[in-house]
Each structure stands twice: as C-alpha cells, then as structure tokens.
C-alpha cells in the first residue's frame, strides 16, 4: 500500500510538469493558429536553448544546495572576451575555447570562495555577478563587438537536418548532463553533497573538489550559452544576459529541483525551461504585453512551487 502511494506521488511529480507543459501548449493552440506549427515550435526551442543550457549548470549547483547568481554576468563577460578574440582574427575554435576558459574560471573562483573561503553561495556568486559584469564592461569600454563571419554565425542560424544548431547543442548538453547526473561518480556525489554534506564528508568524498568542479561547470555552460547568443545576435554585448540567472533558477525549480538540495532531475529542468519558453512565445502570439508577461511568469513559478510543496505535504500526511 505504501509502495503504491509512493509510485503514485512520484508519477504526479514527474509528469506534473510535463502535463503542465502540454496543457500550456493546448491552451495556446486554441488561442492562436500560429502556435502549433513546426516553424513556431522550432522557434520556441531555439529561444529556450540559451536559458536551457544555463539551467543545466544551475541544476547541478542547486542540487548541491547552492545557488549561482553570476551566470548571466559570466555569460556576458565570456561572450565579449570570445568576441574580441574572433575580432582579433583567432580561429573560431580557439576563440570559443578562450570563452570557455573565462566562464570556467569565473565559476571556479565562485567554487573556491564557497569552499575554501567558507562563503555562502549566495554571497560569493552575488559578488561574482557584479565583478563579471563590471569586467565585461571594462574590457569593452561598454561597447558591443559585432560582425562575425558566417562560420561562427552558423552556430546559431545554421540547421542540420532542418533542426536549428542551438537546439542540437541544447539536446546534446541535456543528454550528457542526464548521463553525468545519473550514471557517474560526479552525479552521485552531487546529490550526496546536497542531501547531507556531513554524511558525504564521512563517506570519504572530497566535497570541496567536487563543489569547485560543479561551479566551474556552471560557468562553462554560461560561456557556451554566450556562444549561441553572440552568434544569434551577431554581436557580443557586455550588458547581455541580465536577469538570466532568475530564468535559470525558475526553470530549475519549476522542473522539480529542491532549493534545499539533494533532489532534482535534468529532464525536469528541460521541461521547466520549455515551460518558460512556451509562455513567452505564446503570450507574444496572443498579444499579451511584455509587462503582463512578467506577471504571468512570476505567477506560474509561484503556482508550480505551491502545488509541489503542498503535494509533498499531502504525501507525508498520508504516510503517517
């Protein structure tokens, strides 16, 4: 009987967000004939890709019971550094690797501050949010760097088998992340650190090392998102990615990752990111103003978590 209840709940939990996503799609299909078309759905996926990629890093971080507020700023900083490398004539792969190093470096600094500096993740990454933003502005003197050759732009505008490249990148990242989280040591340790740090330490896990790796990955994925964004806009801007951290946190949390740590799935985060993408797109299509869009998105975040926590409470109650 107990077992039955558990399965039932987990199914609601797992498929709840999927049901929500499907419901949203139905809703917008009824209200707009333009919603359910291949080209629009590709559009949604493409628009979601950037937040979705950042959210992967955020999911790892939040599962360790941390938070990363710096992802948007790190995106901008690594974006302009990479763009200036391209502008300086470096080959595309080299420029991208430089961008990745900047992103990973910022993330690793977050990790060091949190582990060896004993700072709460909120504070460390809040500081990095400002530092990376300022570094990007300083580096470019506040200007954007624009105009890249087609080879680079292909990363956002190209298609392979009619699928936009950013969508392919997103899918690849999600497959890898899902694999890492469920089938590798790093994944297991991520859950253990967030679930019970003390128990993780006493199980012989070098938690400082793994936290550094995880914050480094979050920075690296911000840099990857910067590649997509820069290629799409054909321009790297030091003010790019403002508020992206909030979208990434929202996608992660809507996807069922607990801010208390120890729980969450990559698949859930993908659905969370798509829900936000579909909402933006659908509300645009039916002509809702961007002001009201913000209100709707905020309400959806709160609604999803309200539902989740209350379902959980019901579950504990039925157990007792």
């Amino acid at each position: 009987m107990k077992l039955f209840e558990k399965i039932e709940f987990d199914q609601i939990r797992r498929y709840g967000t999927v049901i929500g996503l499907v419901g949203l799609c139905l809703f917008f299909t009824l209200l707009s004939e333009h919603f359910l078309t291949i080209s629009n759905l590709m559009n949604v996926a493409q628009q979601s890709a950037i937040i979705a990629v950042i959210s992967v890093g955020m999911t790892f971080v939040i599962i360790t019971a941390g938070i990363d507020l710096s992802v948007g700023s790190v995106l901008a900083f690594s974006g302009v550094v990479m763009a200036s490398a391209l502008e300086g004539g470096l080959p595309i792969p080299v420029a991208i690797v430089i961008g990745f190093l900047v992103g990973f470096g910022c993330g690793a600094v977050n990790g060091l501050l949190i582990t060896y500096g004993n700072l709460p993740p909120f504070i460390a990454t809040l500081g990095m949010m400002s530092i990376a933003r300022g570094a990007g502005l300083w580096y470019t003197d506040g200007r954007s760097i624009s105009g890249f050759d087609d080879g680079f732009r292909f990363l956002a505008t190209g298609e392979i088998f009619h699928i936009p490249v950013p969508v392919i990148i997103m899918i690849v990242i999600y497959v890898i992340a899902h694999f890492v989280l469920t089938r590798t040591k790093l994944g297991r340790y991520t859950y253990a650190i967030g679930g019970n740090e003390e128990a993780a330490i006493l199980s012989g896990i070098n938690i400082n090392f793994y936290k550094n790796v995880i914050y480094g990955i979050a920075g690296l994925l911000s840099a990857l998102a910067a590649v997509i964004l820069t290629a799409r806009l054909n321009s790297a801007q030091p003010i790019a990615g403002i508020m992206y951290e909030l979208d990434a946190i929202a996608a992660t949390v809507i996807g069922g990752t607990s801010l208390m740590g120890g729980e969450g799935t990559i698949f859930g985060t993908l659905i969370g990111a798509l829900i936000i993408g579909v909402l933006r797109n659908g509300l645009n299509l039916i002509g809702v103003s961007s002001f009201i869009q913000q209100i709707v998105i905020g309400s959806v975040i709160i609604g999803a978590i309200l539902l989740d926590t209350n379902l959980k409470k019901m579950k504990t109650r039925s157990k007792r």
């Binding site: 590798t184 679930g195 993780a200 330490i201 012989g204």
Partner: protein, 502 residues
C-alpha cells in the same frame, strides 16, 4: 503531600516518549534555601524531569506542588510566573545587547508604550547585579563578558523574574576553578535569601562542596534521596549504576588475532590528550564515559575528520596518515556515527545510493556506473543484513531506525572495512533491532573484524566488550578487562575519580 518547608514537591512523575519510558514514577522535593543535587548517568532522566518542571515538556502523569499548592505547569511562561528559573548549559543571551537589555528582554521599563526608559533599565539591572555582589556593569555588551560572567547575567535574569526555584544544568562545565568558586559564592548568597537551587552536575567533588541533599535517578527511575553529609562517593556511584544486568546481550567471543590498530600518544588540540591503545583482530574494544568525555572526538580523529595535532596511528603495524575520511576508508576503517540522520545517511536518497556512496569506485567501469553490478551488490547486502525495505530504490528516510543502521553498516561492509568504529550503535533503536545489531557485531568479529564501540549504555559496554577504555575530559582514565569490569568501576573512572597512571 508537601510539608511547610517544601517549596516544591513532585510525585509520581511519568513521561513517555515514543518507544521509551523516560520517567517512571519519579519523585523529587525541594526545601527553601537548599541546594538539591540531581545526579544520574546520561539518559537517566534528569533533563526530562527539569523540562517538565520548567514547562518545556508536559508530563503524562504525576502531581506537582509549589508552595503547597497543586499546579499544572502548562508552559514555560507559567513556570516563570510560579518563580521557576532555569539556566541551561547553552545560555539564551543575545551577545550584541547590553547586560541590562538581556536581563529585562521583553520586560523593559517604558516611558510610553514602545519607548524604553533606558535610565531605569540600567539602574534596575545594576541593582540586581549589585545585590548578587558581582562586578558587572549593566551597560556592558554581553558578548564582551567571559563565560562565568555571562552565567551571572543568566542568574540575574532569573532573579529579576523573582525566581525562587533555580535550576542549574551543569553550570560549571565551562568554568575555571576560580570561576566555580565565584559561582558557589553566589549560590550560597542565594540560599541565604531563601532561593532553592536544583543543581545538576557529574562532578562529585562539587556535589560534596555545594550540595545539601542529592537525589539519584537511573534509567528514568527514582533511586534514592540522601543528605550529602551522610553519603560517601562510593555509595553515590553505586546508586547511579547499580542496575540488574538482566538484559541478554548475545556476545560471542571471537578468536583474537594480531593487533590491527594501534594509536600512539594521540592528541587533538585541547580536547584529547595522550590517547594510547591497541586493538586486535576480532576484538571489541568498548569506550565508556560520560557526555563530553571526548569519545566521539577520538572516533573523528581516527577517521580523519578532525585534525590530529600529535601522535601516530598504525594499521597492521604500518604508520598511516589519516588526514581525511578517504584516507581512513582506504586504510580499512569504517565509522558508524552516533547520529545516523545527520551524519550517516543521505536521507532523501535511496538505499542503493547510500550503500554505494563510499564505494562508487567499485562500480565504475570506464568512469560509468555499472548499474547491474551495483544493484547486485546492494541486493546482496539487503538480503544478508535483512534490511526491511520495499526495494533498493526506497529512500532511507522511510526505513525504521534499525534498518537505517543496517544501511550504514552495509556502506562499510561494502568498503571492506576491517576496523569498525561504532558510536552509540543502538541509540534510538528498538529492542529487537538492537539484538540484530549485536548479532551483526558478533558476525563481524568472527570474521576477524576489529570493533571500537563507543557507548553510554552500561549493559552494552559490559556485555559486548572484550576490553574497556574509560574516558574523562579527553583522557583515558581507566582500562578494564571485559571480565573484571563492573558498573561501579566504570563509573568511577568516568567521573575522573581514580586518575591513576594507566
């Protein structure tokens, strides 16, 4: 029924917690102007009794008279109104506020509603402090005071609430000898004014110095009340521990092999001093002592959690450096912590993930988890240890205490630990599961595993140990053979009584 000189009488006090009878028909009385010592081992029921008196717990049964009137102490607030003050080991003071603000927190004299009359506040507080004859300025910040002075502030706070019954829970635990004398002076002063003090302490010498009468509790039961003047130390110890050892501990002696672990002159900062012992294959080495004796610290030091400041650890005759739990695990040590929930397990993860956590390397092939191998191994331990769970994917939070403990054991069995450190292995586990844990220990030692067992439960220590170390204040104060050990001997060493060179 209370007599005239009784300020407090508690009778037939009973308190049940799920699975335990914490207090069983206990009585306690207190006369005006006396210091009445409450004595007992860890878990004897002292704190529970005091929490009932101070309104933190509700009793299940029994009667309380205060000043001859029957009272139901339903809340801490009501206890305060009745003149009961309690000073916990950890103070409830705000370090950033002044002494006066702390004393009158929530009861500040006001000029108008919401406006504090600072002048009166400081003056009133100073009055109480002067009355106590302590040299504290009421305007000082509490955080700037030493521990002893902070305690005086607590006393002053209790007095400002017109406390006539003052409960002091191990008040001298953090005090120096000089400060203790200062505290005793205050206590004598309070006595003269008719305040009655309930004094909880393990330190026998203090009991004889400051106490008038002593009541001993054991395993939640009332044992006896005696005037301090007419009781000897030996008698007190006997009252504390003299229980019938009728609990059946299914100890099977294993054949002892060579020494597997040797600890040499181990020190940890100011907390552990000159710890020396050795442990043989198949042996159970019990470590007894009272709370705060340093037993868990010793375990943490050996397991590489806390830094060792001096000393050496040898495993199988070779010196090993354990600077992290990983090192200890690699050396073949497993640590079954006292608090499963906060240290041993990741509660919201599955049985499988918990068992494989320290052992993941074993299940990796080319960096990828081999689920089949992992599942097979985990299932093996589930059936071998008879872990009652719907399956390996069940979250451990839903398992019972005994089954959770078995999951922790599986972690270390799977890591092929040859030296197990058990810290209070059966705490919070029901009787049936306890036996199973003992059987498992027998099986382990039969296979040549060596066990260090930290325990506060006398029957467990006496029943399971081949040898016993007793600790007090971070030192080993006694070494006993399993056969010659008695409750009295252990308790004497644990109280730091026979501090002979060992």
């Amino acid at each position: 029924m209370p007599t005239d000189d009784h300020i407090l009488l508690m009778e037939n006090i009973t308190k049940r917690f799920p699975g335990v009878l914490a207090l069983d028909d206990v009585k306690f009385d207190l006369k005006r102007g006396e210091v009445h010592v409450l004595l007992g081992e860890n878990g004897a029921g002292k704190s529970t009794l005091m929490k009932i008196l101070s309104g933190a717990y509700e009793k299940d049964d029994g009667t309380i008279w205060i000043d001859g009137e029957q009272r139901e102490i339903s809340s801490p607030r009501y206890a305060q109104e009745l003149g009961i003050g309690i000073i916990y080991q950890e103070f409830n003071l705000n370090p950033f506020l002044s002494v006066a603000e702390n004393i009158f927190l929530g009861r500040e004299p006001t000029l108008a509603p919401g406006v504090i009359n600072w002048k009166r506040l400081f003056a009133k507080a100073q009055e109480i402090l002067d009355e106590l004859n302590v040299n504290i300025n009421s305007k000082e910040e509490v955080g700037d005071l030493g521990v002893a002075m902070q305690q005086m502030v607590e006393v002053a706070k209790a007095l400002s609430l017109n406390a006539r019954i003052l409960i002091m829970d191990e008040p001298t635990a953090a005090l120096s000898r000089h400060e203790i004398q200062q505290l005793f002076r205050i206590i004598r002063h309070l006595k003269k004014q008719g305040v009655a003090v309930i004094y909880i302490s393990h330190r026998l010498e203090e009991i004889f110095e400051i106490g008038d009468r002593v009541t001993v509790l054991r395993d939640g039961k009332y044992i006896d009340t005696r005037p301090v003047k007419s009781i000897s130390r030996d008698e007190l110890v006997r009252l504390m521990v003299n229980r019938d050892l009728d609990e059946q501990i299914p100890k099977k002696k294993a054949k002892l092999g060579p020494v597997v672990l040797r600890v040499d002159n181990l020190c940890v900062d100011n907390r552990l001093h000159d710890i020396e012992f050795s442990l043989r294959k198949g042996e159970v080495l019990g470590i007894a002592g009272l709370m705060g004796a340093g037993r868990t610290q010793l375990a943490r030091a050996i397991f590489g959690v806390d830094k060792i400041s001096e000393g050496k650890i040898y495993v199988d005759g070779t010196e090993v450096s354990v600077s992290s739990p990983r090192d200890a695990i690699n050396a073949g040590i497993g640590f079954v912590t006292e608090d499963r929930k906060s240290e041993g397990l990741v509660l919201n993860r599955s049985v499988k993930e918990n068992i494989s956590l320290p052992n993941i390397r074993k299940f990796l092939s080319m960096g990828v988890l081999d689920f089949e191998k992992e599942n097979r191994t985990v299932d093996e331990y589930i059936s071998k240890l008879d872990i009652r769970t719907p399956g390996r994917d069940q979250n451990v939070v839903y398992l019972s205490g005994g089954n959770q403990q078995k999951v922790v054991l599986s972690k270390w069995l799977c890591s092929h630990a040859r030296i197990f450190i058990f810290d209070e292995p059966t705490r919070g586990i029901d009787v049936g599961a306890k036996k199973e844990i003992y059987q498992l220990m027998n099986e382990l030692t039969a296979k040549g595993v060596a066990i260090i067992m930290i325990s506060s439960e006398m029957p467990e220590i006496l029943g399971m140990s081949d040898r016993i170390l007793v600790m007090c204040n971070g030192r080993i104060t006694g070494r006993l053979d399993g056969e010659e050990a008695t409750q009295e001997k252990i308790m004497k060493y644990a109280l730091g009584e026979l501090n002979e060179a060992v």
